[in-house]
């Protein structure tokens, strides 16, 4: 396992090293990209100066809101839907094709309904994240052994208590898979919508910097998004792994 982690780090380091070499050798020109060490330096300066704090607060706040609502609504909706066989049969194909729908295309509609504030961006993040949570939660709930449902009945647990203390905990590793995807999708949704129409946020700042050939701002912000997303994902993956190991799953 440790070897795998080491190899993973080496692969990333090799990629960064290659980029550094290509940039320093002039194969990739400076108008296109700065060398990675300069990106790291600019990112550090940006973080220390606090000039992007407002943009980061807006993006991360909206992404967190989109993610939290997607996770909560997704789990609650899936738990409800799991008991409704007909409705589930109707909705399952829609979930399966959901990611074929370009959610960003709803942006004009969301603006005309909810205005120019943060809500349309949060909604896009939510719409991208929620279905991943629903699908994975349903998948987990489908796997709950019948004997555990009987155990709940013997314990005379009602529907809510059965969900809270038997079915959802059993489905937790699957729910966590959905949650992991929802983190990424929510961030993509919010940053992506800031690109299209916003007056702030990391997506807007990246777009602004791109239009002004400001690589010293654009690349550090891109790296910041990648680092944040990867760190959250790695944390959730570790958690998921711990749950699975505890249950004798690998």
């Amino acid at each position: 396992m440790k070897h795998l982690v080491l190899w993973r780090i080496l692969v990333v380091a090799a990629g960064v090293g290659l980029l550094e070499a290509l940039c320093l050798a002039g194969v990739i020109d400076r108008i296109t990209m700065q060398p990675p060490h300069e990106i790291a330096r600019d990112l550090w300066r940006m973080l220390v100066s606090g000039r992007m704090n407002a943009a980061m607060r807006k993006t991360l706040g909206n992404a967190a809101l989109a993610f939290a609502s997607a996770a909560l609504a997704g789990v609650a909706f899936a738990a409800l839907l799991h008991g409704l066989r007909q409705t589930r049969a109707t909705l399952d194909p829609l979930f399966a094709t959901w990611y074929a729908v370009p959610v960003f295309a709803f942006y004009p509609l969301l603006i005309s309904v909810f205005g120019l504030g943060d809500l349309p961006q949060v909604l896009i993040g939510f719409m991208l994240g929620v279905v991943a949570v629903i699908v994975n939660t349903l998948n987990g709930l489908d796997r709950v052994p019948r004997v555990l449902l009987k155990t709940a009945r013997v314990g005379r647990l009602g529907r809510m208590r059965t969900a809270a203390s038997i079915t959802l905990p059993y489905a937790a590793p699957h729910i966590l898979t959905g949650v992991k995807l929802a983190v990424a999708y929510s961030l993509i949704g919010v940053v992506g919508s800031e690109f299209i129409m916003s007056r702030g946020g990391i997506g807007y700042e990246i777009s602004f910097a791109y239009n002004n050939f400001d690589n010293a701002t654009m690349y550090p912000l891109i790296v910041l998004i990648i680092v944040l997303s990867t760190a959250i994902n790695a944390f959730l993956s570790r958690w998921e792994q711990r749950l699975r190991v505890r249950r004798g799953q690998r």
């Binding site: 004997v147 555990l148 009987k150 155990t151 013997v154 314990g155 203390s165 059993y170 004798g248 799953q249």
Partner: protein, 268 residues
């Protein structure tokens, strides 16, 4: 004469056909009375409705005809207070450690926390799980996981314990030892025990009375009183009368098992 602890009267269970398949006449009609504190075992051919019978007594299913009563009250469509069930399948909760698994049975019980802790501790000791209190089910053997499930049932101090082939997945030696533990627990709790098993020797070793069921629809062909003393353990298998009991069970069951398998008797 004391009122029966559990009474089944004219019980039948028919499962409705799914789509074009015919309805399945699974059980009965059958009558049965269990005395308070009795250890009753049921044996029968595969598919004769043993588990259905247990589910009817537990309140996990409703009879198509007839009535099931526990402590003089009819059992409806829910499990009555005072009934504990141990299933054949592993019903341990994989996300909880052994201690929390056992305490799960008391999670919603209106008891002080100290009383709940004391019961869990007692159950851990009784089932020999003290050293594994912090282990997760995935770290335990099948027999230990089943002991966790039994302990989870026992902490609720049920007056009626229903066991659906609880040792089915265990090897013969472990089953004998688990049988000893079950007898000890039965004596300690004074509960009425209803055990379903496919093993004739297990039924003969453990029970006061054994119901032998016919092939589907399951009915009682014979009710065998073993006559064992209240204080007993697996060494009862050494007694000559043990062979007599198992022979009687097999004699009744042999033809029924053939019917269930759809095989004909061998030509003499």
């Amino acid at each position: 004469m004391a009122a029966p602890h559990v009474a089944l009267r004219g019980v039948r269970k028919v499962f409705a056909g799914v789509e074009r398949s015919a309805a399945v006449d699974a059980l009965g009609p059958l009558d049965l009375e269990l005395a308070r504190g009795e250890f009753f075992a049921v044996v029968g051919p595969s598919g004769c409705g043993k588990s259905t019978l247990l589910e009817l007594i537990a309140g996990l299913a409703s009879p198509t005809e007839g009535s099931v009563e526990f402590e003089g009250r009819p059992i409806g469509a829910s499990v009555p207070d005072g009934v504990g069930v141990v299933f054949q399948e592993d019903a341990s909760l994989p996300w909880l450690d052994v201690s929390a698994n056992i305490a799960f049975g008391l999670r919603h019980a209106p008891l002080p926390a100290a009383e709940k802790d004391a019961r869990v501790k007692r159950a851990l000791e009784m089932m020999g799980l003290v050293d594994f209190a912090a282990s997760y089910p995935a770290q335990l053997s099948g027999g230990m996981r089943q002991r966790v499930c039994i302990a989870r049932t026992l902490v609720t101090e049920p007056r009626l314990i229903l066991l659906d082939e609880p040792f089915g997945a265990l090897d013969q030696q472990t089953r004998l030892l688990m049988g000893d533990e079950l007898l000890r627990l039965w004596r300690a709790t004074g509960a009425t025990v209803f055990l379903i098993t496919h093993a004739l020797d297990e039924a003969a070793m453990l029970a006061d009375r054994i119901g032998v069921m016919s092939s589907r629809p399951g009915r009682f062909l014979d009710l065998v009183a073993t006559g064992w003393p209240h204080e007993r353990d697996s060494r009862i298998v050494e007694q000559p009368s043990f062979g007599t009991v198992t022979a009687r069970l097999w004699k009744t069951l042999r033809e029924e098992s053939r019917k269930a398998l759809g095989t004909r008797p061998p030509v003499a």
